[in-house]
Amino acid sequence: MIKLKRISAPKPQKISPFSLPKIEELQITNINKIIYVQKKNLPIVRFSYVLELGSRFDPADKKGLANLFGMVLDEGAGRLNALELKEKFQMLGTNFSINTSKDSVSFSFLSLKENFSKSLYLINLILTKPNFSEKDFEREKSKILTSHQQIQDSADYIADISFDSLIFENNSYAFPTIGIKDHLTKLSLQDIKVYYKNIFKKAIPYLIIVGDLEKKNLARAVQTKFGPIRQYNSIKKMDKISGQKKTQIYFVNKKGSVQSGIRIGHINNKRNEKDFYSKTLLNTIFGGQFSSRLNLNLREKKGYTYGIHSSFDNYKDASVFNISTSVSSENTANAIGEIIGEMEKIRKGVTKEELSFAKSSISKRFPSNFETYGQIASNISSIIKHNLPNNYFNDYLKKINKVTLNEVKNTAVKNIHPKKSIILVVGDKEKILTQLEKLKLGKITEVGIFGDKL
């Protein structure tokens, strides 16, 4: 019989074993990379076809091309028109989606195992025999132009888009995936067709498949559907990103706002194995979860916000340190002051307790990162994005647990720069400008809703 003792937290039981899902690479000629994970507990399959052709490769005068291409591609294929094609997926109960980001475009579905082959057939039809009708193109183009108008209503969208624009300046990461209005207006169906022929068809995909399938059959099915594809070599080199010299404040005037959306951060060195683990721990302590310094201060102590979060956003060829929150208008400057204060403070290091909390949290949470089919697929996709080995996760915890207090401190000094940050506020000018001036943190500049100079 166990005795009731409420006064302190009970000790854990013996830890249950966890084995990582086995990541296998199927060897198929003429195709880039096929990663397969057998997962048996449910009769479902998750499939992704990913191309490293994100919006950052949009030509300088055609920003929004990759995204619009993704919208048009599945509007009919083979003998099926747009609606018939979508109906086929629905009849199978398959959730199909195309997602374009700055780094990649992915075609994914979640299907029942019994409908995997039929879903694979449909996705192949989309990739190889798109209809590209003028009518479908015009409709999708009009949709994206309307979305472009609508995002002006949302403080969050404005903040995210203008923050990237200010952070990346003239680099191709600076432009929103949704594109630039004037460019979108000029895009024609011919642009889409040229893109398909010259870029899309020549790019090499990687495939991620998670589910309970026979490996041999799977290899055959994929081989007949997706090979061969010729190499596409002309991926552009990144323009250099200079980074901020000193802290500056920018604001977007959104009249009538009752809150201010705040983004604070700067360019950071690219994801690399050397400091990735100490950055992960550092951010966990600083603003990566509920019990972080930022959240405990700005939410649980000051009550300025519903929540505040920080992250190192790792793109393929760049990384950004980003703090984001929304606060009531009257507390705009107070909140910024506290955030800058926390940035200064963490550069002095973290405590032993904080580090051991972060290590414990990350290590013990590890098994739950592999619960759903989608989680596994997304973990693999980040391995591929950052050119990591297939056994990456095997050593992950060992590397996390090796990080020392000193390393975290050095990482903070090197990667968190309160004096070289961009501070962006989206809010009502009348309510915030005087507050911002009193902060005396740097030059204050008003910008347009996409971070553009006024």
Partner: protein
């Protein structure tokens, strides 16, 4: 379908706490999920939002758990946690490595049994600010963010428990006193008013022993009951027009429906799916795809213990007359009522629903929550197959019946137009 047949054990402690155990051992994880039978429907006018604010207060520590430690304990153990409040209920949940089950039971039992001794004004003032900011962030400062509040306050009769928003009105959020909070706890947070679900990797005997240990000494108290409310119809159409800082006009059309899991409930859900559940649904095909007069369109039902509502909303494309959009929506509805649905569109909808049921089994916390959901409304946790069957047995005739029965009644229309 066997997959959807959940093997569970359900029992009640002496103090009235319901317990549901469901073993699933594929991962070393355990989900703990408690539903308290209290939501914003139990509030009174002038104190709206207190059920939700109370949910926040439950994370502010209890007699043996210092403020801020609730989150810390769970996160340090590698767990994730949160809570949510709706019209009908409040749930608290965490998912942890299975060897930390006892930690979760200690924390949940401490705030169930020992919340009041450490409640204080500083905590209340802090969370009042947090919740005010939550309201600003999620509603006041979002485009069309107050539409839902406008709809329910005008659709449901005065004093109907759904006639105010769960987040609460700002002036009410500013008004709660410590007495209100402690009184709320005493009125609703009795073990006899809650159900604890444990799902995942655990040993049954051990789990039962721990539950008994941590929860059985908590005394039950009398809980307040909220009167049930009769179904109602609108006496006439209601039209509300608002101007806001948005780019595009949006139309909302809303009809009162019935309680959750009542006779017509599943049919109405399918009706929503057939009208606007996908890009090939009727309204999408007609208004978005063919005519290109709407940017997006939705149709769905929300329903609970005290009633329900069916809602269609459409965002009008630039330079299109909203009247045209409205009349096309009604044309589609009338066509459905006139000619009925096709076999194919019904099948399409059912296949989608069936797959979603299976996909939803991936997450342990989703399953734990669903067990509580079925138990709360139907007193039967293992309702997955029956629930799916409600949808797969919908007929063309049944669909036609509910479309006629509800959509021909008076409705509420809300228009939100751009200010300029």
């Amino acid at each position: 379908m066997d997959l959807l047949n959940i093997d569970y054990e359900k029992y009640t402690l002496n103090n009235g706490l319901n317990v549901i155990l469901y073993q699933k051992k594929n991962l070393p994880l355990v989900a703990v999920n408690i539903w308290y039978k209290v939501g914003s429907a139990n509030e009174v006018k002038g104190k709206t939002g207190i059920a939700h604010l109370f949910e926040h207060m439950m994370f502010q520590g209890s007699k043996h758990v210092p403020k801020e430690k609730h989150f810390k304990f769970i996160q340090e153990a590698g767990g994730t946690l949160n809570a949510s409040t709706s019209f009908d209920r409040t749930n608290y949940y965490e998912k942890l490595p299975s060897n930390y089950l006892e930690l979760a039971l200690w924390l949940e039992s401490d705030r169930m049994g020992f919340f009041l001794p450490v409640l204080d004004k500083i905590k209340l003032e802090n969370q009042r600010e947090v919740v005010s900011n939550e309201r600003l962030q999620r509603y006041d400062n979002q485009p069309y963010g107050l539409a839902w509040e406008t709809i329910i306050t005008n659709l449901f009769p005065q004093n109907h428990p759904y006639s105010w928003p769960t987040i609460g009105f700002m002036e009410d959020i500013k008004s709660y006193s410590l007495y209100d909070v402690s009184n709320f706890f005493k009125s609703y947070y009795s073990p006899s008013n809650a159900c604890l679900v444990i799902a995942g990797n655990f040993e049954t005997d051990k789990a039962k022993e721990l539950i008994e240990l941590y929860f059985s000494e908590i005394k039950r108290t009398d809980t307040k009951q909220t009167q049930s409310f009769k179904n109602f119809k609108l006496k006439e159409n209601i039209f509300i027009h608002k101007k806001e800082k948005v780019q595009l006009e949006r139309i909302y059309l809303v009809w009162p429906t019935n309680k959750i899991f009542s006779k017509d409930d599943a049919q109405i859900d399918v009706l929503g799916d057939i009208l606007a559940g996908s890009k090939t649904a009727r309204l999408n095909e007609q208004l978005v795809h063919k005519l290109e007069i709407a940017q997006d369109i939705q149709a769905f039902q929300i329903s609970g213990n005290f009633g329900g509502a069916f809602l269609i909303s459409a965002t009008v494309k630039p330079n299109i007359n909203p009247e045209k959009v409205k009349s096309e929506i009604f044309k589609s509805i009338n066509k459905l009522i006139d000619k009925g649905s096709t076999e194919k569109e019904l099948l399409k909808s059912k296949n989608g629903i069936k797959s979603q049921f299976i996909y939803s089994l991936q997450n342990l916390d989703t399953m734990a929550d669903q067990l509580n959901n079925y138990n709360f409304y139907l007193n039967e946790p293992n309702y997955f197959s029956f629930d799916l069957n409600r949808y797969s047995s919908v007929t063309e005739k049944g669909l036609l019946n509910v479309a006629e029965k509800y959509l021909l009644n008076n409705h509420l229309e809300l228009r939100i137009s751009p200010e300029q």
